[in-house]
Symmetry: C2
Subunit: 221 residues, 2 copies
C-alpha cells in the first residue's frame, strides 16, 4: 500500500514539475528570462508558490532541469560512447559532401549540437540571457568526453584542451543560434563545415603545414 | 567668437559624455547591465536626466560608444589594413612558439582580441548580458575585413563565410572571457593556439587530409 501511494505521489510530483517546466517555456517564448519572476511562473503553471518551492529551489533550477531534459543526459547510450567513437564520428561527418548524408546520420553529431530536436525547447535555446547558463551546463556534461579528445588529438595540456573545447562549444552554440537551430539543408551543411573546422584545428594546433616555418610545442608555463 | 563658443560647447559636451560613460563602467563593476536604469546612471554621473537624453538615446547607446572607444574603431590605421595583411599577420602569429614573441608583436592580433588593453573597459567585456551586444558590434566593424578572408582562404560562399566568422568570433570572445582578458603568458599562448586553429580550419574546411576520403565542395543551396 505504502509503495503504491508513493508511486502515486511520484507521478503527481512529476506532473507538477512538468507543468512548471512547460509554463517556463511558454513564458520564454514571449519574454526574456531576466524579466520573469517565480510568481509569474506560478500563475502561468497554475500552482501556488509553496508548491513551486516544494519542487524547485528557484528559477535557475527549473532551467537546469529543462536543459537536462533537452540534452537527454539520461540517454547517453544513444551517443557514441567514449572519445574514440566521437572522433570517428566526427571524421565521418567531416567526410560528408552533402546535407542529406548528415541528415540520414545525424546522431553522429555530438548531442549538444542536436539540442533542438524537440522544437518546444527553442525558447530556452534562443533566450539571450540564458546562453551562458546553457553552455555551462553542456560544458559540465561533455567535458569528460571532449577534453581527452582535445588532449590526445591536439596534444594540448588539460587546461589548454578545456579552453579550446570551450572555444568550439561557444562558437558552435552561437552558430546554431544564428541558424535558429532550424534543421534545413543549410544547417546540415554548416555542421559539416564546422566539424571539418574543429577536426582540422585539433589536428594541427601544434604545428601546421600552412605556417611558414615549423611550429613546435608551445612551452607550458 | 561663434567658433570659439562652439568649440567650448563641444568640449563641455565631450566631458559630459565622458562622465556618463565612466559612470556606466563604475556601475558595471558591481552590477549587471540588466539591473541598471538611466536614473541610477545619472545619479552616479552627477547629471540630470535631461542632460543625459541630450547626449544619448538610451543606455544601449552609451554601451555602443564605450565599445567603439574600447575597440578604437577610429585607430584603424594601427591595424593591418586589409585582409591580405590580416592573413599574413595570422600566419606570423601561428608560427610563434612562445608567449613572449606574441607579447612583443601583439598588434598582429585583430583589434577585437586586444579589446582589454585598457583595464577600465573590463566591466563592459565581462558583463554577461552585454556579451552578444559587444560581439554584434565587433562583427559589424570587422565583417568587411574578415569575410573576404574566409571566402578566399576557405573557399566558402558569402553566407557560409559570415557564419564561420561568427563562430570564430564567439569562440574567441568567450575564450578571452574565460581568461578574464588578462594578458599573462597563458593568454598569449592560448591566442597562438587559437590563431593556428582558425587558420587551419580556414585552410581545410573544404577538404582536409585527415578525413578518410576526399571531401569536395559542399553544394550550395
Amino acid at each position: 500500500m505504502r509503495g503504491q501511494r508513493t508511486r502515486a505521489e511520484d507521478q503527481r510530483s512529476r506532473r507538477t514539475k512538468g507543468r512548471i517546466k512547460d509554463a517556463l517555456l511558454v513564458l520564454l517564448a514571449s519574454r526574456g528570462f531576466n524579466e520573469l519572476s517565480v510568481s509569474e511562473l506560478c500563475r502561468e503553471a497554475g500552482v501556488t508558490r509553496s508548491t513551486f518551492y516544494r519542487h524547485f529551489a528557484n528559477l535557475s533550477d527549473v532551467v537546469d532541469e529543462l536543459i537536462d531534459a533537452c540534452f537527454e543526459v539520461s540517454s547517453r547510450n544513444t551517443r557514441s560512447g567514449g572519445p574514440g567513437g566521437t572522433l570517428d564520428n566526427a571524421r565521418r561527418v567531416a567526410a560528408m559532401t552533402e546535407p542529406n548524408e548528415l541528415r540520414a546520420h545525424e546522431t553522429l553529431l555530438p548531442a549538444c549540437q542536436r539540442l533542438a530536436n524537440d522544437e518546444k525547447y527553442l525558447p530556452l535555446l534562443m533566450d539571450e540571457s540564458l546562453a551562458e547558463h546553457v553552455i555551462h551546463r553542456i560544458y559540465q556534461a561533455e567535458i569528460e568526453n571532449s577534453v581527452p579528445l582535445y588532449m590526445g588529438r591536439g596534444g594540448l595540456t588539460r587546461r589548454e584542451a578545456e579552453l579550446m573545447y570551450l572555444r568550439d562549444l561557444y562558437g558552435t552554440f552561437f552558430l546554431n543560434r544564428a541558424l535558429r537551430w532550424h534543421k534545413d539543408d543549410y544547417w546540415y551543411r554548416m555542421h559539416i563545415l564546422a566539424t571539418r573546422a574543429t577536426l582540422c584545428a585539433l589536428d594541427s594546433v601544434r604545428g601546421t603545414p600552412i605556417v611558414p616555418r615549423s611550429a613546435p610545442v608551445v612551452t607550458e608555463r
